[in-house]
Amino acid sequence: MARIVAGFSTPHTPYLPMVVPKEADSLDGRYFNEIRERLEAAAPDVIIAFDCDHLNSFFYDNLPTFAVAAVDRFRGPSDDNPAIAPRYVPSHESLGRAIHSEGLKAGFDLALSERLDVDHSIMVPLHFLTPAFDIPVVPVFINGLAPPIPAGGRAYALGQAVGEIIRGFPEDLRVVVLATGSINHEVGGPRILRGELWGAPDPSWLEHVLARLRADEVDALVSEATPEKLASVGNVAGEIYCVLAMLGAIGAGPPIFLEPNVRLGHAYGAWLRTNGGEEGR
């Protein structure tokens, strides 16, 4: 049977691949390294990646709230990143298909994609975490960007359902669950900084989220992370839904690593599965 061995959370800010190599000992470079080393130690056969997209994979002509890819590979980034040449990344079609069909049975009507291009939300983390892009990745999409977004409890419950599906999957696989995105962040909206295209409007929310995560108060965080609250924080603050889903999937306790970049409004985290799973090899 498949086993979830760890959960990770990283930002996916598209300019990090451009700036990190230029800054000696940058926070983001160090933290991405930290997560990469932990991911390598977890030795996954497959990565499940919860991501929010940015109206690139999915657009208003057909915009799902939840979706999963059942593909043997996908392509990205589709949104022009100077530091990442577009390429194919292997996926795990039968696991993606199981998440779709078993998800339906569990009450999650995920859209199904059999051909997917992804944007920086998947490719930036992979650029740092699996530089050879050789570990199969199954993208699971949650709309956290284009209102109306779902309730936080739905994202968490989707994660719980995906966790159950992984644990019931008959292949012997080591699975890592990855969440990508920012926590306190605005991109292109009214709360950006003067002369910039981004801002980090509400540092107190990031601080609050980190405190909740460190104290393993996930249920409280889930009930606080309403669409209204997240809209008041920043226009991409809904990306925290990916963290909630990841935590739901792995059934985590407190993080074993959690460090923020307060200026940019994001954080890097690592969790081990605690409810009966095997922790590392």
Partner: protein
């Protein structure tokens, strides 16, 4: 309202290099195939991204206009016009 078509401009400037070039060299002709309200067309041609946001366009898509420097937009003009824009409920 045809805010879908406004959002499409933001999408195509990123994903369609030919459209991007046309928007740069001849914006009126680039928009000719889109079903835009006059108010939307005028705001796009003027690079009034704050107004487009208030009309309901998604700001993340509007940002692509500044990213590619079309319609007289860059980070400075974009942020000047977007900062302080408001609408009552998220579109």
């Amino acid at each position: 309202m045809s805010i879908y078509e406004v959002n499409l401009v933001g999408r195509r400037v990123l994903h369609d290099p030919e459209f991007r070039e046309q928007l740069r060299s001849n914006p009126e002709s680039a928009l000719s195939g889109l079903e835009l309200a006059d108010e939307e067309r005028d705001a796009i041609l003027a690079g009034e991204v704050g107004r487009l946001y208030e009309l309901g366009a998604h700001e993340y898509l509007l940002m692509n206009l500044a990213r590619y420097g079309v319609l007289g937009l860059d980070a400075v003009t974009f942020s000047d016009r977007m900062r302080g824009a408001s609408r009552s409920t998220p579109a």
